[in-house]
């Protein structure tokens, strides 16, 4: 069963584009990454799924339910972590968690207690007095405490220190193993690469690639790192050259035999050829069509 099925979803804010004819599907139980820079349409997609904004055209379903016609029922399945954790003024953490649980008509006290302990969150403090990272923890507990079937996380790790990020992803993985679908929006590609099974890349409101993380990372380009000296000028298919103290590297998508012949004319101490990481793939997808590797 598909947890999320988006069909030709379009949202315009007046004349400006939010998302355009977006198609996407996420299977139940997936840990899905949604990658794109600011303004690409990630938040518009998420806000449309949550019913905060109405689609201009197209449709979307969550667990087979239409997001417009059955919004309330859809929201019962979703735990949402917004990119900015903002709460009502003057409220203590425990009151915020209780309000969130009451709005879901659920007793989440046991789950909330366990999550707060794992994330080291003091529930007696006022949310106004908390740091950005601690407010984020409150939002995480709000999203997770009702044990939802689908977690929609918008830039979830901003403000969390590395130890907390590790704990957070450990919790997410546990939930995912129990069957929770995770829809994870981020521009921190290493997070997506480490945690997600599949990912989609959004650009200018459109999905430009959607596949398993491994496949997305496989392009014809390789990262070539050379220790020593070699004249590579004149070779076609070279881009993103990086110079280090005793080495240099570049992405290469040209003829490998020609590269080896060129390198053999130089003085090479060491040579490595690796797959590019997702960060490089991401940049690759954001190149203009005629500049692509």
């Amino acid at each position: 069963m598909q947890a999320i099925k988006i069909n030709q979803l379009t949202k315009f804010y007046g004349k400006s584009r939010g998302i355009s004819r977006l198609d996407l599907s996420v299977e139940k139980g997936e840990f899905f990454g949604f990658i794109g820079p600011n303004g690409a349409g990630k938040s518009t997609t998420i806000r449309t799924l949550l019913g905060l904004i109405s689609p201009t055209s197209g449709s979307a379903e969550i667990f087979g339910k239409d997001i417009v016609r059955e919004k309330q029922s859809v929201l019962r399945h979703i735990g949402y972590l917004p990119s900015e954790a903002i709460f009502y003024p003057g409220m203590r953490v425990k009151d915020i968690l209780k309000l969130s649980a009451d709005l879901r008509k659920k007793d989440c006290s046991r789950e909330a207690k366990e999550l707060c302990e794992r994330l080291q969150l003091d529930i007696s403090r006022r949310a106004d007095d908390l740091s950005f990272g601690n407010r984020k923890k409150v939002a995480i507990v709000c999203a997770l405490q009702s044990d939802p079937d689908l977690l929609i996380l918008d830039e979830p790790t901003g403000g969390l220190d590395p130890l907390m990020q590790r704990e957070f992803f450990a919790i997410l993985k546990e939930r995912n193993q129990k069957g929770t679908t995770v829809f994870f929006s981020s521009h921190v590609l290493s997070e997506v690469q480490r945690n997600c099974t599949r990912a989609a890349i959004i650009r200018d409101g459109k999905i430009i690639a959607c596949d398993s993380v491994e496949v997305l990372a496989q392009t014809s380009a390789k990262r070539v790192t050379i220790h020593g000296k070699a004249e590579i000028e004149g070779l076609d298919g070279i881009r993103d050259i990086k110079y280090a103290e005793e080495s240099f590297s570049f992405l290469y998508s040209g003829d490998m035999n020609r590269l080896l012949r060129t390198l053999s004319l130089g003085r090479i101490d060491d040579l490595t050829v690796t797959e590019p990481d997702l960060e490089e793939v991401f940049l690759h997808y954001y190149e203009k069509e005629d500049d692509r590797v």
Partner: protein
């Protein structure tokens, strides 16, 4: 009723400040009455010679030497303006504050329908207004009893009822306006209350603008008319109820479909 309780908690400080201020000023005014009672005949003559100014506040038709006359003008203005400001501020921020304070993502990502959100917030507005009026009414009656005057139950109750209806009407209108706003709303709320107040003053001064009494809720709160007729003008109240319902309907129609930024 989760949201009703939440809104009542959120509005607690504002509620007690406004209730205390209006209640305190009303009581002070009532406690001044025995001292001013003896001087009122002269003051009455003075008001009578003030022409349009006295007409604007209905002072030309009221006897300041009686508690009812004094209460209708002095206390009426305090309750009228204070209550109108509180009701307008409370209602105009009720929906818009979620976007202004950026808490809408938190609230609307929960499985609660927009209709339920609007309804519970509206109930919270009306509960606060009702509670404020009950406290202020009780304080007024107790203050009158404390100065040893006989309580003019009918007139006092009618005046308080009129001001309660005024606040409900303004709250309904401002609640509707709130659905259209997503930034600061206090200025709009105060603007609506002040405009309504001045429309009544204009209607009192100029006969050609008498129709404005049907537009502003202050029209049916005129103490001189209530005391003279022993009732609140039903036609004006009916127009007020219509405007109030119009505002509430606008809130439901707009907010249920609104794109939340």
């Amino acid at each position: 009723m989760t949201l009703v309780k939440h809104e009542l908690r959120q509005g607690k400080t504002s509620f007690w400040i406004w209730t205390a201020c209006v209640g305190f000023l009303l009581s002070v005014c009532i406690f001044l009455f025995p001292e001013m009672k003896g001087q009122m005949e002269d003051i009455g003559d003075l008001f009578a010679s003030m022409g349009s100014f006295a007409e604007a506040f209905g002072m030309d038709r009221l006897n300041f030497g009686t508690l009812v006359g004094f209460y209708a003008v002095e206390c009426g203005n305090i309750l009228g303006l204070g209550g109108a400001f509180f009701a307008s501020l409370c209602a105009v921020g009720m929906l818009s504050k979620e976007e202004k304070d950026r808490t809408s993502e938190f609230l609307l990502a929960h499985p609660v329908s927009r209709v339920r959100i609007i309804t519970e917030k509206l109930v919270a507005v009306f509960l606060q207004i009702t509670a404020m009026n009950l406290v202020v009414y009780a304080l007024s009656v107790c203050s009158i009893a404390a100065i040893g005057e006989e309580i003019p139950w009918k007139e006092i109750s009618l005046m308080h009822l009129a001001y309660y209806l005024l606040q409900i009407e303004l709250a309904g209108i401002c609640f509707g306006v709130s659905a259209f706003l997503n930034k600061g709303s206090a200025g709009v709320g105060l603007g609506i209350a002040v405009t309504a107040y001045f429309l009544n003053l204009i209607a009192n001064v100029a006969d050609v603008a008498n129709f404005l009494k049907y537009v502003t809720p202050f029209g049916y709160c005129e103490g001189a008319d209530i005391v003279a007729n022993g009732k609140i003008d039903g036609a004006m109240v009916a127009v007020g109820i219509f405007l109030c319902l119009f505002g509430i309907a606008a809130a439901y129609i707009k907010y249920a479909r609104k794109d939340i930024r």
